[in-house]
Symmetry: C2
Subunit: 154 residues, 2 copies
């Protein structure tokens, strides 16, 4: 039995290759969800990576994080953390401070303005997640994340 593909792809020759189909479903679904959340972030003039960085820094709290650590924690790898932080700093959403012990590190912290910006998004985002996945049971979500985890670790 040929496996179904995302509609829009409209592949004529049904893929014989179930692995490629699985791969495509993961990518297409991710892309779709990403596009939807991008709309939410835009309310506060943030891109998805920018929102991601702010959340990371909120999580880090008063200790802050250096650029490399921020990069490691991101969902999508960003090849240029420096200038991304530049922009956020320029908007006053974060601040930076060079460490004195090891002067190679520049720690980044979220500011009050950054926290306020995030706060305005918190409720809509939780609401979006709940609503967007409301039609899956908890067990379905666990099964799916379990399988995705297996894919990732592979």
């Amino acid at each position: 039995m040929a496996i179904e593909l995302p509609e829009n792809l409209k592949q004529k020759t049904p893929l014989s290759n179930i692995e490629e189909a699985a791969y495509l479903w993961i990518l297409v679904t991710a892309e779709h969800l990403k596009a939807e959340t991008a709309e939410l972030f835009k309310q506060q003039d943030l891109t998805a990576p920018q929102y991601n960085v702010l959340r990371i820094l909120r999580g880090a709290g008063a200790e802050g994080l250096c650029g490399r650590e921020v990069g490691d924690r991101m969902i999508t790898r960003d090849s240029d953390i420096t200038r991304m932080l530049d922009r956020l700093e320029g908007r006053g959403l974060i601040r930076r401070e060079r460490q004195t012990e090891d002067r190679r590190f520049v720690l980044a912290f979220i500011t009050k303005a950054g926290l306020d910006t995030l706060a305005k998004l918190d409720r809509p985002i939780v609401a979006w997640h709940r609503k967007r996945l409301a039609h899956l049971s908890e067990s379905e979500m666990r099964t799916m994340t379990g399988l995705l985890k297996k894919v990732l670790k592979g």
Copy 2:
């Protein structure tokens, strides 16, 4: 029970929100797979969207496709098909031709050079897919794609 998150995210406060966890797993897995395949495409100096376009045009064959149709079939929405096709045309991988019946349409076709480029990638890519997902059973892949489909349609 708190659901596990992708390692690198290192969230301190475990998410209470299983929906958000599911969402993150989808995105992180997709991102990871995308990064791996990007390496393959780079062998032929192609980005993932460029490879995607060439495959779409190969699928379309001698009939070709107009820009909008190409855009519809892409995995990741591209906001600027025109210039992406410009670049591929500049490299001789595709050619374009304005339709005579309805002069609004510009049809794109893959060239011999484009087909050759794709051909060099076909085997490595099939091999990559098989190897990358070899540790999942066919039934696991079907379950996963079924759930992803449910997410997407939601």
